[in-house]
């Protein structure tokens, strides 16, 4: 133990190369220490003052590839340690100064920090201790951080909008390239500059300062601020300043990232678009109003759930109410014709229940008792909240209605006049035709009497005049026969006929009358209907008669839609049938036999001629006219005719 220094340093540690086993026995504390050092995975190498390896632990042996024979060798002779720059020099410095030194050391893909510490015994530094700390992972994370930072910097510098980071005291911390370019400043000039000094105080704005201060104080949201600013080379620009807080765990200082977005173009576009859309809106509103005024059509929307009703100006004018007064159903009711109020209420109830489009005609009675006829068409839709809403157009059809009525009146007067006229003419012509032979009869009879009464009687002359009397009587009889033929057997034109087409024409002709009677007409026409042989005009008279009869039968029906269904269909193999079904008052089943007799009628205004004539026409066409009561309300009148062979049906 006399050579403690030499023994210790040259002998090495147990399990560790260079340890003297004798010492182990001598000092159990040393043994423990050695054991600890062996178990530490930090490589440790002790180097003597003379730059020879004194001892090393197992971790060092593994890292540096040391073996027991390396004890006493100089470190630069060990291949791995030879990579440590200025190793011996540094060790000498540490021995001289007694201060630690650090050296970065790379072994393959691992990085170490080598700490060189003085190895002292008593006051004397007898060597150095090299500890190797593995910093590979740490090093890698720093590299990564640097890389990320560079990427971020690249991104930030590529962003066209200026960005700047302000410190907690609102000084400029750093900015991107766009920021420096916009304000014509360099990084160095602005670093640490109070933000509000930027651009000659252009951003010294109370709201901006308030918002930034709040954000720095912990607020999460920032209300963007628009600033008009003259940018060198670009002129007046509108900048939108937005900010978000930057805070990092472990950093007490909160910073803000402030962005400058140039929204000049967008603002201009928006302004232009706004102007345009306002102008378009104004124009389309003007068009609509003008259109409504010209067509006497108003419109309204009605939210069913809330009874919120909105009227167009024209509708106010139609109702003769002051534009803008709140519209309620009660208000509407005050204007609706008393006879139509029930109808209105029915429509309102139906509209509430369903969500179907509807159409109705009603009248208004103005305070001066004048009547207006309105035609409304409503479309069911949904409002923004998904609630049922009706959008409707209401047309003032008074003028049309009145002219229709005048026309109908004129027409009926004309028909009446022409009927009277033709009846008068017919009577006159009958009288003329009959009076001629009557005149002869009377004259001959007088002559005859005179001849017989003369002295002597002229018997031969009397016989002759008597014969002429008989002849004239025959002539009179012939006249009557001819007249009968003329009026009972009208000339008819029989031709192949498409009953669908004939029916459609009649419907078109009668639609006005039907509409006036509030009749809803449905057509169920068989597209594949064979032709019939018939007189178009006569059969159309029959169809018209059936339609008008059906319509008339529903005149007093108000508790159900006045529906009239016209059907054409095949009737068995060789016949076709035209049927008109109404939901009207029907007829007394006991009277079915007399229904078609002339002068039988259920109508107060009718003569009952229609069905009688219709039956003659149908029978002249070898057909049959039938009347049946429906299962439900009303009756069905129909006729069937023999059809032509299929080959003749297509023209």
């Amino acid at each position: 133990m006399t050579t403690t220094e030499g023994v210790t340093l040259t002998g090495g540690w147990i399990g560790l190369q260079g340890f003297n086993g004798d010492d182990l026995a001598a000092n159990s504390a040393t043994t423990d220490l050695i054991s600890i050092l062996e178990s530490v995975d930090t490589p440790i190498v002790v180097v003597r003052r003379d730059s020879t390896i004194a001892c090393f632990n197992k971790a060092a042996a593994n890292l540096l590839g040391l073996s027991p024979s390396d004890i006493g060798r100089a470190p630069h002779d060990i291949p791995v340690i030879a990579g440590l720059p200025r190793m011996e020099e540094r060790c000498a410095e540490v021995i001289a100064t007694g201060l630690d030194a650090r050296v970065d050391f790379r072994e393959a893909d691992r990085w170490f920090v080598v700490r060189i510490s003085p190895y002292a015994r008593g006051d004397r530094v007898i060597g150095t201790v090299l500890t190797f700390t593995n910093v590979t992972a740490f090093r890698a994370s720093i590299d990564q951080a640097i890389y990320e930072r560079e990427c971020t910097k690249a991104i930030i510098n590529t962003v066209a909008d200026p960005l700047v980071v302000l410190s907690g005291d609102q000084r400029i911390q750093s900015g991107n390239r766009a920021f420096h370019a916009m304000f014509g400043v360099s990084r160095d000039e602005t670093q640490g500059m109070p933000f509000y000094e930027l651009a000659n105080g252009a951003f010294e704005l109370a709201p901006l300062r308030t918002h930034l201060t709040e954000l720095l104080a912990g607020a999460q949201a920032f209300q963007p601020v628009e600033v008009d600013h003259v940018v060198t080379g670009k002129g007046q620009r509108t900048l939108l300043l937005d900010a978000r807080p930057l805070s990092f765990p472990g950093h007490s200082e909160r910073r803000v990232l402030l962005t400058f977005q140039d929204i000049t173009a967008r603002k201009e576009a928006e302004a232009a678009k706004d102007l345009r859309s306002k102008e378009e809106l104004r124009r389309s509103e003007a068009f609509l109003a003008e259109g409504q005024r010209l067509s006497l059509t108003g419109s309204f929307s009605w939210r069913v759930a809330t009874d919120e009703i909105t009227w167009s100006e024209q509708l106010y004018r139609i109702y003769e109410l002051e534009v803008g007064v709140p519209v309620t159903l009660d208000l509407i009711r005050t204007r609706v014709h008393p006879e139509d109020v029930t109808l209105l209420e029915k429509m309102v109830d139906q509209a509430r229940d369903g969500s179907n489009d509807f159409e109705w005609q009603y009248r208004l009675m103005m305070p001066d008792h004048s009547i207006k006829y309105l035609h409304a068409v409503a479309h069911a839709t949904r409002d923004r909240d998904g609630q049922p809403e009706y959008i409707a157009a209401v047309q003032d059809v008074t003028a049309r209605r009145l002219s229709d009525e005048a026309l109908a009146k004129a027409r009926s007067e004309l028909a009446h006049v022409s009927r009277i006229t033709s009846l008068g003419a017919m009577t006159a012509s009958i009288a003329h035709e009959v009076n001629q032979p009557l005149s002869g009869i009377m004259t001959n009879a007088n002559t005859c009497l005179r001849m017989l009464g003369s002295e002597p009687p002229n018997v031969e002359g009397a016989r002759e005049t008597a014969r002429r009397t008989i002849r004239d009587a025959n002539r009179a009889s012939e006249v009557i026969t001819r007249l009968r033929a003329l009026f009972t057997k009208k000339e008819s034109t029989i031709e192949p006929l498409d009953l669908n087409e004939a029916t459609r024409e009649v419907i078109a002709l009668s639609s006005n009358d039907l509409q006036r009677g509030r009749v809803i007409l449905r057509q169920e026409l068989d597209d594949d209907l064979p032709f019939v042989d018939g007189d178009r005009v006569q059969l159309q008279q029959v169809i018209l008669n059936l339609l008008l009869n059906g319509s008339d039968a529903m005149n007093d029906i108000d508790d159900r839609p006045r529906q009239l269904v016209v059907t054409t269909a095949r009737d068995g193999e060789d016949r076709v049938r035209v049927a008109v079904r109404d939901v009207g008052v029907g007829f007394d089943p006991r009277s079915v036999d007399t229904l078609f007799d002339a002068f039988y009628t259920t109508k107060s205004g009718g003569m009952g001629i229609g069905l009688s004539v219709s039956r003659s026409i149908v029978e002249n066409h070898h057909g049959r006219l039938r009347a049946e009561l429906n299962d439900g309300p009303g009756a069905t009148f129909s006729f069937s005719l023999p059809c032509l062979q299929r080959t003749n049906t297509k023209v």
Binding site: A428, A431, H432, E433, N435, Q436, P437, L438, S439, G440, I441, M442, T443, N444, N446, T447, L449, R450, M451, G453, S454, G461, T465, R468, R471, D472, R475
Partner: protein, 140 residues
């Protein structure tokens, strides 16, 4: 008998397109004692040699070609003042006053009675006294 003879000299012309009138009326007029000529149209009458001799014209109103009133106007134009008794099968009361105003003696609606015809003829051919009146002894 005087009257009858006198009348035999009086020519009554009948113009009517209706054949039964042309056949029956002349016989009756002859029974009354007149000389009679019958024509089927106005043109036929105007073309005949009877215009100057006719003492009374029994004229149908409605005829093809020239109508009765047109013939009336034509005669008036020619200043032939022949008394005219219109006859017509067309009973139109409104036409009568107009014809009378234009100078017609009467307007009879067919069929007319013997009495009515005689009255019209008596107005058209006034005789020399009441006794000269044609009577209706042949009538029942």
């Amino acid at each position: 008998m005087e009257n009858r003879l006198a009348r035999m000299r009086s020519l009554v012309s009948v113009v009517d397109d209706d054949e039964s009138v042309r056949e029956s009326l002349p016989d009756l007029l002859r029974e009354f004692g007149f000389a009679v000529r019958a024509f089927a149209s106005a043109a036929e009458f105007l073309a005949s040699d009877c215009v100057g001799d006719t003492r009374c014209l029994i004229l149908d109103i409605a005829m093809p070609g020239m109508t009765g009133p047109a013939l009336q106007r034509e005669l008036s134009r020619r200043q032939r003042a022949i008394p005219i008794v219109f006859i017509t099968a067309h009973r139109d009361e409104s036409i009568r006053p107009r014809l009378l105003e234009a100078g017609a003696v009467d307007c009879l609606f067919k069929p007319f009675s013997e009495t009515a015809l005689l009255e019209a003829l008596n107005v058209a051919l006034p005789a020399n006294g009441a006794t000269d009146r044609i009577d209706d002894r042949g009538a029942p």
